[in-house]
């Protein structure tokens, strides 16, 4: 796929997402303030009731920031609702139109996912600027231009990893037609084990080494920790390397599964 086609697909998808401005702004406000509000009320209550000054190494403000950032960056890492787009295409037969195009299907879908994320990124930047008005940044949080840039790269890589990791799961739809429940299970599991619901430091000691070797932490905990300045440059580079190794593993798996799956595709719904 040529770069110009890739960017054209990204642009078309972004334009599609921005076609309805009321929805765009409601999404931005709800997406940010609701998540931020939930984080605030939930964690202030937990800290107040427990009487603890820190939980898992986070102060109450640090935890609120972590939770809000994990929810918002998590939307980018998951590629919004696009993480089930391939199985939906198989289910309703829309895959047929992509198979006729002289363009790689996965690249096409990935470009669409990136395009769908662009408006969300704009929303995040616009809303994120208000954060210091609501909450004082704790002393262990150091948000700088470098951490923002590092988090941006990390979340884009996380999005790519999530895209590849979901392909084998979505490919089950070639045999089972509907894999919605499977995708929900994956989302829940990856959110829990990846640090979107709570920081990984909150997990018991015996679980931490297991969580470290699983790929899920790269989806949520890694970009958020990077943004909040909790990852050194060296650790960041090492984690990026492991993240791309996971991408290679899932990419290979996706290729093998796809080859078999396309043999049984029936184009039902066409």
């Amino acid at each position: 796929m040529s770069p110009s086609l890739f960017f054209q697909i990204v642009s078309v998808e972004a334009r599609k997402r921005m076609s309805y401005r009321v929805d765009f702004w409601i999404n931005a406000v709800v997406g940010f303030f609701v998540q931020f509000g939930i984080a605030w009320f939930l964690w202030t209550a937990v800290y107040r009731e427990s009487g603890a000054a820190t939980i898992g190494g986070y102060t109450v403000n640090g935890m609120v920031l972590y939770f809000a950032a994990a929810q918002l960056l998590g939307r980018i890492a998951r590629g919004l609702e696009m993480d089930g787009a391939i199985s939906q295409d198989v289910y309703d037969g829309q895959l047929s139109r992509y198979l006729v195009y002289p363009a790689g299907f996965f690249r096409f879908k990935y470009a669409q996912q990136l395009g769908a994320m662009l408006p969300i990124a704009i929303q995040l930047v616009l809303c994120g600027a208000w954060v210091p008005l609501f909450i004082a940044l704790p002393s262990d949080v150091h948000v700088t231009l470098a951490t923002v840039a590092g988090a941006l790269v990390a979340v884009l890589a996380a999005n790519f990893l999530n895209f590849l990791a979901t392909i084998p799961i979505q490919a089950v739809s070639f045999w089972a037609d509907n894999v919605w429940s499977l995708m929900i299970a994956y989302r829940f599991l990856s959110a829990l084990l990846g640090g979107q619901m709570v920081p990984l430091t909150v997990f018991p000691d015996w679980a931490k080494p297991v969580l470290t070797v699983l790929p899920f932490r790269f989806l949520y905990a890694f970009p958020v920790d990077t943004l909040l300045g909790r990852v050194s440059l060296l650790a960041w580079a090492g984690d990026m390397a492991i993240l791309f190794a996971w991408c290679a593993v899932f990419g290979l798996l996706a290729r093998v599964v796809w080859r078999r799956a396309s043999l049984v595709y029936t184009g039902v719904g066409m």
Binding site: V12, S19, R97, V100, P102, Y265
Partner: protein, 331 residues
């Protein structure tokens, strides 16, 4: 340009008993049925030819189109389109074909057609000048120039189908698959699309396979017909030869002069053929081709005939008879 060689496709379909109990049972044990959608189909389509692929619902038309467009793999048999095996999905092959599905939206619902076409320009790597020239030609021919910047979802069904056609033809494909392109359209829109396809064929000479349930589409656009029944091709030949091959009867209609008495000795009409209609104003008989002259002269002798016509049976009726007949029956 298109060659199908003993193409077959079999599907395994889950059969569920009706009702709630059937749904619960199917959670534990499923009954599967093997459906032979296409059985050893062979044919060839040349450059500039529009071949009509007709058959009842579920006869296998769309499955054939899907295999030839490279969307699904056949269970057995082989095919070659423009020198490529379709289901290998070589980009050189995909750049030269187009698929229009009347029942399926292919453009982006929330965007104006012009934006969709720009994306297709990149997908098919159409040079700027060629893109502008083709878009102008297609939009003018289909009379939708003013609607190019309107969101697809705000267009009428006919306009949307015209945009789908433009999208399919922008890259000047050498092979076009049209799967029910006029379905659901009003008569004016149907005619506009038929006229356009005829003009496009004249100007560009692609090979086209057209499936349609509208006989007017088939009669206007196709010289050659493939009739498919239960996954098998039962007729492959010229459209006009269908009548000669399958219509063994003609319709003889006599309009009678009003008020004149009918001779008592006019005998039994059923001796001459199958009576379709008989009253004091008109007599219509379906007569074996070899008996037409005799039946006509007998009617002239027995009745006060004001006007007499002899017609071939309606081609649509013949094709429908061929499509509906069982495998072991003569249509």
């Amino acid at each position: 340009m298109i060659r199908a060689d003993r193409l077959s496709k079999t599907f395994r379909v889950h059969k569920k008993a009706p009702g709630f109990v059937g749904s619960v049972k199917s959670l534990f044990r499923r009954e599967w049925v093997t459906k032979h959608a296409v059985r050893e189909v062979s044919f060839h389509v040349g450059e500039g030819e529009i071949v009509g692929l007709v058959g009842a619902n579920g006869a296998g038309k769309t499955t054939i189109v899907k295999m030839l467009a490279g969307i699904i793999h056949p269970t057995s048999g082989d095919s070659e389109v423009l020198g490529f095996r379709p289901w290998e999905r070589d980009n050189r092959f995909r750049r030269q074909i187009a698929l229009v599905m009347g029942q399926k939206q292919q453009l982006w619902w929330d965007l104006p057609a012009a934006d969709c076409f720009l994306l297709l320009k990149e997908i098919y790597r159409i040079p700027d000048a060629a893109y502008r020239e083709r878009l102008d030609y297609l939009a003018t021919a289909l009379e939708v120039t003013k609607e190019l910047n309107v969101q697809i979802r705000r267009l009428s069904l006919g306009e949307r189908m015209k945009m789908e056609l433009i999208a399919a033809l922008l890259h000047a494909p050498r092979v076009v698959f049209l799967d029910e392109p006029t379905i659901g359209l009003d008569l004016t829109a149907q005619r506009a699309i038929r006229d356009f396809l005829l003009k496009y064929r004249e100007d560009h000479r692609p090979a086209m396979i057209l499936t349609s349930h509208y006989m007017e589409d088939i009669e206007t656009l196709c010289e050659r017909l493939l009739i498919i029944r239960e996954g098998e091709i039962v007729y492959d030949g010229r459209l006009d030869a269908v009548v000669a091959n399958f219509a063994d009867r003609k319709l003889v209609t006599a309009h009678l002069r009003a008020g004149e008495p009918i001779a008592a000795s006019n005998g039994n009409l059923a001796d001459l053929g199958d009576v379709q209609e008989a009253n004091e104003r008109v007599v219509t008989l379906s007569v074996p081709r070899t008996q037409v002259a005799r039946a006509a002269s007998e009617i002239l002798r027995r009745y006060p005939v004001a006007d007499l016509t002899i017609e071939e049976a309606d081609i649509g009726v013949i094709i429908e008879r061929i499509m509906r007949a069982r495998g072991d029956q003569k249509p």
